[in-house]
């Protein structure tokens, strides 16, 4: 746990330093009697940095427990879902909602907790088609139709 905290604290500290630097560089700080747009972000970056240092200090004080790595395989599934979600957001406007959603659901049902092909295909069709009918046709959400565009 301590190692994870140290990693998180270091990342947040880095973010705070960049944020402080950027607010000083980009935004007028003003004066205390008339604070400018940079006043609040600068102080918040400082607060974030200070708290990250506190967490870093605390994590270094606690002896790290040995960590089990049994979830590595499942983490790959998470990475896979994230990658497909990123692809989904890029492809949505190009191939349209129904096809993008069909392949996304199919991926989830075959890869994350593998289901039989007929079930996965059926559920993917149901999710893509059903949600398109409900949202785009009934509720008038202008989802990109892609190949189904008239």
């Amino acid at each position: 746990m301590a190692r994870r905290d140290a990693v998180a604290a270091a990342a947040l500290l880095l973010f705070a330093v960049v944020a402080a630097f950027e607010s000083a560089r980009l935004l007028p700080f003003g004066v205390v009697r008339n604070p400018g747009p940079g006043f609040f972000p600068w102080w918040m970056s400082l607060a974030l940095g200070f708290l990250a240092l506190v967490l870093l200090g605390l994590s270094l004080l606690v002896r790290a427990a040995p960590q089990l790595d049994e979830q590595r395989g499942r983490f790959l599934k998470v990475a896979g879902v994230l990658a497909v979600l990123a692809l989904y957001s890029l492809a949505l406007d190009v191939i349209g909602y129904p096809i993008a959603t069909f392949f996304f659901v199919l991926f989830m049902l075959r890869v994350t907790e593998p289901q039989r092909w007929p079930l996965a295909l059926g559920m993917a069709l149901l999710a893509a088609g059903g949600s398109y009918v409900v949202f785009a046709v009934w509720l008038d959400v202008p989802l990109p139709a892609g190949l189904f565009a008239r």
């Binding site: 008339n34 747009p37 974030l48 983490f75 979600l85 957001s89 049902l109 509720l139 959400v141």
Partner: protein, 504 residues
């Protein structure tokens, strides 16, 4: 106008067919997600936020509030039958509820839980109804200085009470405040951290952040964990419990309701903490503490009453001070903001139909929940048999459509996925997403009131300590920062009182 007259007006609003329908839907969805492990109230409310765009604000808030307090009812079902809390506020119910189910007393446990929730919820609404108007009147005296101090206190409390480490809670709050500065400056309107990207000028849209952090983040964590609930194969009989069981449960119900109400008013996960404290209190007061953890009905009655009363009273800071105390309430806050309504001291005066309509809908919703959760309990048990892997893609699809529909933009879907990744990482590194979300909402208000206070006082920082209300609020905030020790003490005390938990 007197309270009864206002309440009558509230019932006139809540009892219209459309609002009754939304109230019922809220109670139904709330129970369902309370029952289903792996989807909490904040995630569900986030998913449904886009749906509320097209409906009247009163209906929207009735629907979303119903989901929140409905989940408190449903959460106990999985605690009792599966030993898995449907949501965090039902963790303690597992200790005795599951043992009761194993002894063939699942019916009594479910009955005490549902009826206790109804009683506590109703008492909570009465308290909310009586306490909110005077508190809102008091808050009307607040100027920029007091508001600054109040918001600082609210953020400290969220960090302190949100569960987990206080340092991490405050870190998330600071990160949320910082992320909240992206977009237009709240005083002069100049762009900040937009780097020429037009989309960033409106800031990180709260709804996309919430859907990513809570919706996608939660699904990703569950994909990794693999939820496989096994329902206890027990016949649910004796659904009203025996007279003796009710005799034992009555006093804990009353104490749990009162304690839950009082703790729920504090921002930061009141429902969760109140259930723990009320369980510890009952064990301390019991003449036979050794029965706790082995199927004591008091161990179900008190925490269930406490979490329901707390869920209701957590609306008080939102409706009177404009401070959301937990993630679900923050999302309800966001729903109101989307409709151009700012919750706070003026809400009761300016939009009485929303305030009193919500109160009246809570009375109706609690009655609906009682019906949904007792006679229909077998139906909910069936729902538990839907495998999570089949549910997860539908949740994600709902999030993606919701994210797209905010601005009809695929870029927003990308933003939501990025915040989903952040939500996943936060859970992996044991950071609570709630303080970040709350800080993002409160950040622009805090910045505006802080800068106004400094302008009015010509930069004199002592102004925060010279005015009695703001000085008191800041003193409380300081106390919060200095008191993680109290929390550690309380936790140690809880486990001392509760003792070792018997294995399944």
């Amino acid at each position: 106008m007197d309270i009864l007259g206002s309440l009558a007006q509230g019932f006139a609003v809540a009892a219209t067919p459309i609002n009754l329908l939304y109230c019922f839907l809220g109670a139904l969805i709330g129970t369902a997600i309370g029952v289903l492990p792996g989807l909490g109230p904040p995630a569900t409310i986030a998913l449904l936020l886009p749906v509320t765009y097209g409906i009247a604000p009163t209906s929207a808030v009735i629907l979303l509030a119903g989901i929140f307090y409905g989940a408190m009812y449903g959460g106990s079902t999985t605690s009792i039958l599966l030993n898995i809390p449907g949501e965090a506020a039902s963790v303690v119910t597992c200790l005795d509820g599951y043992q009761m189910a194993r002894q063939g007393r699942a019916g009594a446990a479910l009955a005490v839980s549902a009826i206790g929730s109804f009683v506590a919820g109703t008492l909570g609404i009465i308290g909310l109804m009586l306490l909110a108007p005077p508190l809102a009147n008091f808050a009307l005296k607040f100027g920029a200085t007091e508001n600054t101090a109040l918001l600082v206190l609210g953020l400290m409390m969220v960090g302190y009470l949100g569960g987990g480490s206080m340092t991490k809670g405050l870190l998330m709050a600071a990160l949320g405040l910082l992320l909240g500065t992206v977009g237009l400056d709240p005083i002069v309107g100049s762009p900040r951290f937009t780097y020429g990207v037009f989309k960033l000028a409106e800031g990180f849209q709260f709804i996309l952040v919430a859907m990513g952090l809570f919706g996608i983040g939660e699904v990703l964590v569950n994909v990794e964990r693999s939820i496989k609930p096994e329902v206890l194969q027990t016949k649910i009989k004796g659904l009203l419990g025996s007279r003796e069981e009710w005799r034992q449960a009555t006093a804990p119900l009353a104490r749990g309701s009162l304690l839950g109400f009082l703790i729920g008013v504090l921002p930061g996960g009141g429902a969760i903490i109140s259930s723990f404290i009320s369980y510890a209190l009952e064990k301390r007061l019991s003449r036979h503490p050794e029965r706790f953890g082995r199927g004591a009905i008091e161990g179900v009655a008190a925490p269930e009453a406490a979490n329901n009363a707390a869920a209701t009273s957590s609306f008080i800071p939102l409706l009177t001070l404009g401070i959301p105390g937990n993630a679900s309430i923050a999302l309800i806050f966001a729903a109101l903001l989307i409709h151009g309504i700012r919750p706070g001291p003026l809400l009761i005066q300016e939009r009485p139909e929303i305030f009193w309509g919500l109160i009246a809908s809570m009375y109706l919703g609690n009655a609906m929940l009682l019906v949904l959760n007792l006679p229909l309990i077998r139906l909910w048990v069936k729902l538990l048999q839907v495998p999570y892997p089949l549910l997860a893609p539908f949740i994600v699809v709902f999030v993606l459509v919701g994210a797209y529909s905010v601005n009809n933009s695929a870029t927003d879907v990308g933003f939501t996925v990025i915040f989903g990744l952040l939500g996943y990482l936060m859970r992996k590194f044991e950071f609570e997403p709630a303080p970040l979300v709350l800080a993002m909402i409160l950040g622009p208000q805090l910045e505006a009131s802080l800068r106004r206070s400094l302008i009015y006082s010509r930069g004199d920082l002592l102004v925060f300590f010279e005015r009695p209300i703001s000085a008191t609020l800041l003193a409380l905030a300081l106390l919060m920062v200095l008191s993680p020790l109290i929390r550690r003490l309380l936790q140690r005390k809880f486990w001392e009182i509760v003792g070792p938990v018997p294995e399944k």
